[in-house]
């Protein structure tokens, strides 16, 4: 799979995640009267989810410039999810 296509898929996945994470039902769940590390739960949750989305954007944008070479070597298992490539080779 090419880098841009992979990036597009990641972008859409990130977008959907964000839509769910910031949806009213989720916010109601985290609007509970509770504290995490001395921070109100909702406050903590919103910034954590937001930070995660930003990290995902950075991760995806990085891919848009083409897959870095080490990505291929550090996941040999990746071959198994590409039957098309193997069929052609065989």
């Amino acid at each position: 799979m090419s880098g841009p296509k992979r990036a597009a898929e990641r972008a859409v996945a990130t977008f959907l995640f964000a839509c769910v994470a910031f949806s009213p039902p989720f916010l109601s769940i985290f609007g509970a009267d509770a504290f995490v590390f001395g921070l109100p739960l909702l406050y903590f949750y919103l910034f954590a989810a937001w930070g995660l989305v930003i990290a995902l954007v950075a991760w995806t944008a990085d891919l848009g410039s083409g897959p870095p070479p080490q990505r291929i070597s550090d996941r040999p298992a990746g071959i198994s999810d590409r039957p098309g490539g193997r069929a052609r080779a065989g």
Binding site: F22, P24, F47
Partner: protein, 923 residues
């Protein structure tokens, strides 16, 4: 002690510093050493999104609505998640078409329509005015609050102060001056404002640091960190409600997120910094996460400051919108308060300057110039240098925009919270989103659809959001809001057609966007796009496949004089610049720049795009039309252009290739299938033949065995004769099976070959010796006629001998019974080793010469009483010879009989091959 003059001096000094940065940035850009050419400055310039709304208003919102301030910053993050689909495409389109504003974008997409450009501009101006008012309100309020230091007193209402003494008015004028200085010093062909971008980026740093400083002071100075602050707040039930259960619910969050998602690309100032001022598309990759990160950092301290303010001023006497300023003031932190004021000033000036420049570009390019050109464009076109006029229009527009903002502030904005004002603006610019995004992905969208959608959306925005605000400020009867116009309850602006129970903003967004999108889609479907609309639609939607400068795409047929075009350009961008640009163009195309000639369609289009950068797409079109002969292409030609230039031809070409490949593959498959069928048939034949061949000896073995077993009293001689037959048939059977196995092995390629350099003479001698026994008892002469020097061959010795023995045995078998003659010839023929075995038998008819080398095929000539072979000898011989790279065949022997011959490639040439020197041997 903070005197008003000292605050003024600091503020002015700060603005001068900004101007110095902008000036330096412009100078560096002119020198070709840009200081904004990196993703960090780019991301910081996008942070012009954070205005006074963020700096003061978010805290105010948080003080009453808890985390409600946040969705406005989540939206841009969500849009940037999809940057690869949206932002990058917008940038590519704008770069290709020299688009300088959102009005230009929409007008350009829908056939360079001047009407659409004007509509967008009008909506933008009306929509952004409250936003500018918000900044003016924030600056004047913060100034008036700070002036009271050390007392914390809310300033008086502006409308009771004469205009000329009103701080907000002075602020508006000051900002107008700065916007003019920043943005309209000269008309640039590229329409980049590098200096302004540098200043905006600097401001983004200042406002961030100032806000963080106040936040850190409240959190860590007044309280002992976040834990302490929230713990203290949790003890006050009214405050703790802000960050726990939200009474209003979260139903309006999607509305706010959606609004801000649209705003981050539709706001004219965001369009300006993110798209128009983008110098390198690659900067996006970093900026798309750096900018949201900036927003996140900015927002961390919003709630702490709000809580700090509420705890500090529990009686509600202090406007929460001023907490950023008033909390440090109350704590006698003079320096921090001043710094906060500068931060707020940064946020406001950044927004006002960029918005004013963006709006003034739109007003001059898409509103005033088209009107001027249409009303009296002949007179205008005859005038000399128009760049001065253009600059004056833009400067006038800036002043007008700021005065409009001030008017809004003075008459309406006074009583409304900052965030509420801002959201009205967001809702207005969100109306651009359908036409904009739809135009990028839907080729069928038309001008009529865009106009219909925009006007419906705008009308509903006006009715459900702006007019009620007027009414609440006392400029319209409040009955209008509460009872509906003329008392028609169904038309109440906050509950249109009985849609009740939603917050005002969501209600307005629902109706305006529904009408907008509905009108857009319906209008597009029911109308037919014109020629230029179609071309532009294709160019916008397929911008990536038309990457580059669209050099080949031209709407103009016919031509214009180069001098006319140059004169036209000079009027708008100055004579020197025009000379330079046209010279560059000529050099790039390898033309002689000095030679006056007719400009071709490509140059006419180039000039049009260039002009579009200065006066907008619609006006540029009118101006170029005034000097270009010929006319705009018609629909047939458009389709022709599309056929020629767009990917259609490319696609069809590729399709053709693919189908050709497919055809080839199919043919190959078909051939392979035929071959398989043949092989299958052969296999069947082979098996039936083998069975037949095996059955013959088996039958005779069985019958003789039965005779022997049924007749135990058979005499000895008879018994021995039968037994001899059984033994002979068994041997034949064994040989047959061995040969079948051998052949199968060869055909399957599993044979072990010992290929070595071989002297054929030794092999022939051995073969002759081995076959001599066959001659016993028969009248057959066997002779060898070989050259003295035979060339060596590369072969498996034993197999080669097998071939020769086979051929000799074959010859012996078929030669004349009474006077049998078999001769072996060996020598060199055409650079190859040659061997022939001749007999004087009946010969092989021409029809059989091919098939006798097949398995179990023998000559169709009646064999009479000749001993039968296995029928595999020749097939095996052929396999062997072909494996050695040789050829085997049969021909007529001279005189009578058959000649079986084969040739083999030579591995080493024989030393000498003197003709006539032959050895004759008789055996």
């Amino acid at each position: 002690m903070l005197a008003s003059w000292s605050i003024l001096v600091v503020a002015l000094a700060y603005l001068c510093l900004l101007f110095a940065i902008a000036y330096y940035g412009d100078k560096r850009a002119d020198a070709g050493r840009s200081i904004i050419g990196n993703p960090y400055i780019y991301a910081l310039s996008m942070a012009v999104y954070c205005t006074s709304w963020t700096f003061y208003g978010s805290v105010g919102r948080a003080a009453s609505g808890g985390m409600d301030f946040l969705p406005i910053y989540l939206g841009p993050t969500l849009t940037f998640v999809l940057w690869g689909f949206l932002l990058r495409k917008i940038i590519r389109i704008c770069k290709a078409h020299r688009i300088t504003s959102i009005a230009d974008f929409i007008s350009s997409r829908y056939g360079k329509s001047a009407l659409l450009g004007g509509m967008v501009t009008l909506i933008a101006v009306l929509g952004i005015t409250p936003y500018i008012a918000l900044q003016l309100k924030a600056v004047s309020t913060s100034f008036n609050v700070l002036v009271q230091y050390p007392d914390v007193v809310m300033p008086p209402i502006s409308s009771r102060v004469p205009v000329l003494k009103d701080t907000a008015f002075l602020v508006a004028l000051l900002m107008a001056v700065f916007a003019i200085l920043f943005g309209t010093r000269h008309i640039d062909a590229s329409e980049h404002h590098e200096g302004m971008v540098a200043a905006i980026a600097f401001e983004s740093i200042v406002k961030l640091v100032a806000f963080l400083a106040v936040g850190a002071y409240v959190t860590f100075g007044l309280y002992d960190g976040f834990g302490d602050l929230f713990a203290t707040a949790a003890r006050a039930p009214r405050i703790s409600a802000l960050f726990t259960s939200n009474d209003a619910g979260y139903g309006h969050w999607p509305t706010l997120i959606l609004l801000s998602m649209a705003a981050i690309i539709c706001l004219p100032r965001q369009f300006q910094v993110a798209v128009v001022e983008n110098v390198n598309e690659d900067h996006l990759k970093k900026a798309v996460w750096l900018f949201p990160l900036y927003l996140l950092i900015t927002n961390i301290f919003v709630l702490p400051i709000a809580i700090g303010g509420l705890l500090h001023f529990p009686d509600g006497s202090v406007d929460a919108d001023t907490f950023v300023l008033t909390v440090p003031m109350a704590e006698r932190m003079e320096g921090l308060a001043l710094f906060a004021f500068i931060g707020g000033l940064s946020a406001a000036t950044g927004m006002v300057i960029v918005a004013a420049i963006a709006l003034s570009t739109m007003i001059s390019n898409d509103l005033i110039m088209p009107v001027l050109l249409r009303l009296n464009w002949r007179g205008l076109a005859e005038r000399g240098d128009l760049s001065g006029l253009l600059l004056s229009i833009r400067r006038g527009s800036i002043v007008m925009v700021l005065l409009l903002g001030y008017a809004y502030f003075r008459f309406i904005g006074e009583s409304v919270a900052l965030v509420t004002i801002g959201l009205v603006s967001f809702a207005a610019v969100a109306q651009f989103a359908p036409a904009m995004i739809g135009g990028m992905y839907w080729k069928g969208a038309t001008r009529v659809g865009a106009i219909l959608g925009l006007s419906l959306g705008f009308a509903l925005w006006l009715y459900t959001l702006l007019l009620p605000l007027f009414a609440r400020s006392g400029w319209l009867p409040i009955d209008f809001v509460e009872g509906g116009p003329f008392g028609i309850a169904l038309l109440r602006p906050y509950a249109l057609f009985g849609l009740d129970g939603m917050d005002n903003l969501s209600h307005a967004m629902f109706w305006s966007l529904a009408a907008n999108i509905g009108g857009y889609v319906l209008g597009s479907i029911l109308s037919r796009p014109g020629a230029i609309e179609r071309i532009q639609g294709a160019l916008f939607v397929d911008v990536s496949s038309h990457s580059g400068a669209f050099g080949g795409t031209s709407f103009w047929r016919g031509s214009a004089a180069v001098t006319d075009l140059k004169a036209l350009l000079a009027r708008f961008i100055g004579a020197r610049e025009a000379d330079r640009v046209l010279g560059d163009y000529a050099r790039r195309r390898g033309l002689n720049p000095g030679h006056p000639r007719e400009a071709d369609a490509a140059l006419v289009s180039f000039v049009e795009r260039l002009l579009a950068g200065s006066i907008g797409a619609a006006s540029a079109r009118v101006m170029v039309a005034s000097v270009a002969k010929g006319e705009v292409v018609g629909i047939e030609e458009v389709m022709e252009i599309l056929d020629e230039t767009s990917q259609v031809i490319e696609y069809s070409h590729r399709l053709e290739q693919k189908s050709q490949e497919l055809e080839n593959t199919t043919q190959e498959l078909r051939d392979a299938n035929e071959r398989l069928k043949e092989l299958d048939e052969m296999k069947d034949d082979f098996i039936s033949t083998v069975s037949h061949e095996l059955r013959t000896p088996l039958t005779s073995i069985r019958s003789f065995s039965e005779i022997l077993s049924d007749n135990p009293d058979l005499d000895a001689a008879e018994r021995d004769r039968f037994l001899a037959i059984i033994v002979k048939e068994t041997e034949r059977l064994t040989r047959l099976i061995n040969e079948i196995l051998e052949l199968a092995k060869m055909e399957a390629g599993r044979m072990d070959w010992h290929m070595i350099d071989t002297d054929p003479r030794d092999v022939i001698d051995e073969a002759l010796a081995a076959t001599s026994s066959l001659l016993a008892g028969r009248e057959i002469s066997l002779t060898l006629d070989a050259d003295q020097w035979l060339p060596h061959v590369h072969a498996d010795r034993d197999r080669l001998m097998q071939v020769i023995v086979n051929l000799i045995a074959n010859a012996v078998k078929f030669c004349d019974d009474s006077r049998g003659e078999v001769s072996v010839l060996a020598g060199q023929l055409g650079g190859r080793f040659y061997l022939g075995v001749l007999d004087n038998g009946p010969g092989v008819p021409p029809d059989d010469r091919q098939i006798i080398f097949e398995k179990f095929q023998e000559s169709s000539e009646p064999l009479a009483d000749r001993p039968r072979g296995t029928g595999l000898g020749l097939a095996i011989s052929r396999q062997i010879v072909e494996h050695f790279g040789g050829r085997i065949w049969v021909e007529d022997a001279p005189g009578r009989g058959a000649a079986f011959c084969f040739t083999l490639p030579i591995s080493r040439v024989a030393p000498v091959s003197a003709p006539g020197m032959k050895s004759h041997e008789a055996l």
